[in-house]
């Protein structure tokens, strides 16, 4: 079926050309990083995880949000999502691929990556993260390929696909929970050590995932003959609204506990994030922008007259996506390290090589998504 992605008009190949160039830049920059070490990033002894791991964390959320279309359809027969489940699974494949790539480029000794399999360590959340992410990738790949092949042959999917689909639902929850556990079990980092971290991750994932999916579906409506339909978009918007409200509520709850409890080492991280500390205010404008965008999106989505019109809906979805990308992709990881256990405030700004490599990985994700969607829509005869 993949041969269907090799046929296309000028616009398609131009897009692929852009993606391949971006990926190429990323690869060349990564070779430089392999040569000189991770020192070419903005990371430091005190801020040891940054852009790469933050993108990985954000994209796990996007991957998990495939469950938003699969669950209603598979468990509750929501017809509006029938045609969307496949697209959700393909988005998950692209997102998990990017997650694995971001982890890979962050490793100091990537040639030793198989040590994680050769010396399994069940006590380490990172071991479980590797298992659940790889498993989720395989699960979605098998489900989507088999379902699509069945559609092409105009037959029902084999009976063993349904148990796999049902499995993918708790599995999707687990990938983001295990990723949250990477952070929330560390007594050394009070900013992360909250039981609410996993629920926060899931809430923000279920807001940003559907927001992205709505945007992607609207793009598909422009470029192809695929129309998800008003009902599907409407339901996705509803889910995103409730999830966004929950996500904002969770942040407020965190703020209360930290600020009212007033334990210095808890307060200091929130202070750094929203007010800055002597030595650094890098994230302050970003945090307030994220919250402003979240508030704007919530208002647009709560009012029916803005939720139902495409223009404001697009604005709301872009706002949610950017807001949560800032919150998870910039704010969450770095703030855990500042101030350091010895009270140091160290500045972290991703360097150009770091951003180029990251951009290259996003290019890979978009490439995977383009190819998969093209194949799917071609099989369904809804290309153009």
């Amino acid at each position: 079926m993949i041969e269907r992605a090799l046929v296309g008009k000028r616009g398609y190949w131009a897009w692929m050309g852009v993606l391949v160039s971006v990926i190429g830049c990323g690869v060349l920059t990564y070779l430089r990083q392999l040569e000189s070490g991770l020192g070419i990033t903005g990371l430091s002894r005190d801020v040891t995880w940054g852009f790469y791991i933050a993108q990985f964390t954000f994209l796990v959320g996007v991957a998990a949000s495939a469950v938003i279309v699969v669950l209603p359809y598979a468990l509750h027969g929501v017809k509006a999502f029938a045609r969307l489940a496949l697209l959700g699974e393909m988005l998950a494949i692209a997102a998990v691929t990017m997650c694995l790539l971001f982890i890979f480029v962050d490793m100091g000794q990537p040639t030793r990556i198989f040590n994680v399999i050769l010396y399994p360590t069940p006590r380490s959340p990172m071991f479980w993260d590797m298992i659940v992410l790889s498993g989720y990738l395989v699960l979605n790949a098998v489900i989507s390929r088999t379902s699509l092949a069945a559609e092409r042959d105009e037959e029902p999917a084999p009976s063993w696909v349904r148990p796999l689909v049902l499995l993918s639902i708790p599995w999707a929850i687990s990938i983001h929970t295990v990723t949250a556990f990477l952070y929330s079990g560390l007594a050394a980092r009070p900013f992360w050590m909250t039981a609410l971290l996993a629920p926060r991750f899931l809430a923000s994932a279920f807001a940003s995932g559907p927001a992205l999916l709505i945007l992607v579906l609207l793009v598909l409506k422009r470029l192809t003959r695929f129309d998800a339909g008003k009902e599907a978009i409407g339901r996705l918007a509803t889910i995103a609204t409730y999830a966004l409200a929950t996500s904002i509520f969770f942040l407020l709850v965190e703020l209360f506990t930290a600020l009212y409890g007033n334990i210095p080492e808890h307060v200091s991280h929130f202070r750094y994030l929203f007010l800055g500390l002597p030595g650094g205010r890098t994230l302050v404008p970003w945090s307030w922008t994220a919250q402003a965008l979240a508030a704007l999106a919530l208002v647009l989505l709560l009012l029916p007259r803005t939720r139902r019109r495409e223009g404001p809906l697009v604005l709301a979805c872009v706002s949610i996506f950017v807001s949560i990308w800032i919150e998870k992709g910039l704010g969450m990881v770095v703030t855990g390290f500042i101030p350091s256990p010895l009270g140091k405030v160290v500045r972290y700004v991703p360097t150009a090589p770091e951003l180029l490599i990251g951009l290259g990985i996003y290019g890979v994700g978009l490439l995977v998504l383009t190819v998969l969607y093209r194949v799917a829509l071609s099989v369904r005869g809804e290309l153009a």
């Binding site: 070490g37 020192g39 002894r45 962050d106 000794q109 990556i113 010895l342």
Partner: protein, 249 residues
């Protein structure tokens, strides 16, 4: 009467089971009886530390013996033992009216070789682990450079090699390996010396004997006798890591 197959099988299983039990019991009893059961610890006496004339004897001895690089960019610093302010090391002990003679001294910071080390808990490849004698070791051959341990350490004791350390070695100790970029390193309690009955380099390198090293399981060791006679602080004890570096006050 000859035994049936069933009886013979049962007899064999009993024997095998007893054998397995005896084997594991021997290991457990061996530990309890103190067979090879040592617990290394260090006591730091800041009052003896010759801080006011810029003495760095311990740091120089350690970093020279172990080929620890002097990386100029502070973001990429690699350090196994270094000096910090009292208020930063013991931030959880607000000490506003304690004598300045105590709180103005620099305090030596190093790996605490915790009894329940969070770094070893999170390492996905067991490249860092706690030995039976209490030393938290690193296997530089296995480390994949994920830096999860660096994130998990509540004391900031671990350094990552952001760049190739070799250009930043002023003098090389040929009897000890260097490291490569992309792996984590930290104080090892001089395991290569301790395993051969010697003292750590920092302890030997201190001209004022401000560092005391020994076996906590030996009631007559220097560390036990010192801890019996004087009160000692540990860093962030409420986190449950059970650090084994003690600071006399």
């Amino acid at each position: 009467m000859t035994e049936t197959v069933k009886e013979g099988r049962r007899r064999f299983l009993k024997l095998a089971g007893l054998g397995a039990l005896a084997f594991s019991a021997r290991k457990v009893l061996g530990k309890v009886a103190g067979e090879g059961a040592r617990r290394w610890a260090m006591v730091v006496d800041p009052s003896r530390c010759r801080w006011d004339d810029g003495c760095n004897g311990c740091i120089k001895a350690c970093h020279a013996a172990h080929n620890v690089p002097s990386v100029p960019d502070p973001k990429h610093e690699v350090k196994w033992i270094w000096k910090e302010k009292f208020a930063d090391v013991f931030a959880d002990q607000e000490a506003p009216h304690v004598a300045e003679s105590l709180t103005s001294r620099p305090i030596l910071a190093l790996c605490n070789h915790c009894d329940d080390p969070p770094c070893a808990r999170v390492c996905p490849t067991k490249a860092t682990w706690r030995r039976d004698d209490g030393i938290v070791a690193i296997d530089p051959h296995r480390c994949i450079g994920c830096r999860y341990c660096v994130a998990a350490c509540p004391y900031g004791s671990r350094s990552f090699n952001w760049v190739d350390p070799k250009p930043y070695l002023a003098r090389v100790n040929p009897d000890y390996p260097a490291r490569t970029k992309g792996i984590v390193e930290k104080c090892t309690f001089c395991v290569e010396r301790v395993d051969r009955g010697r003292l750590p380099a920092c302890v030997e390198g201190c001209p004022e004997k401000a560092l005391i090293f020994g076996d906590l399981n030996d009631p007559q060791s220097d560390v036990r006798r010192t801890l019996r006679s004087r009160y000692a602080l540990r860093r962030r004890p409420s986190l449950g890591t059970h650090p084994e570096v003690y600071y006399l006050v």
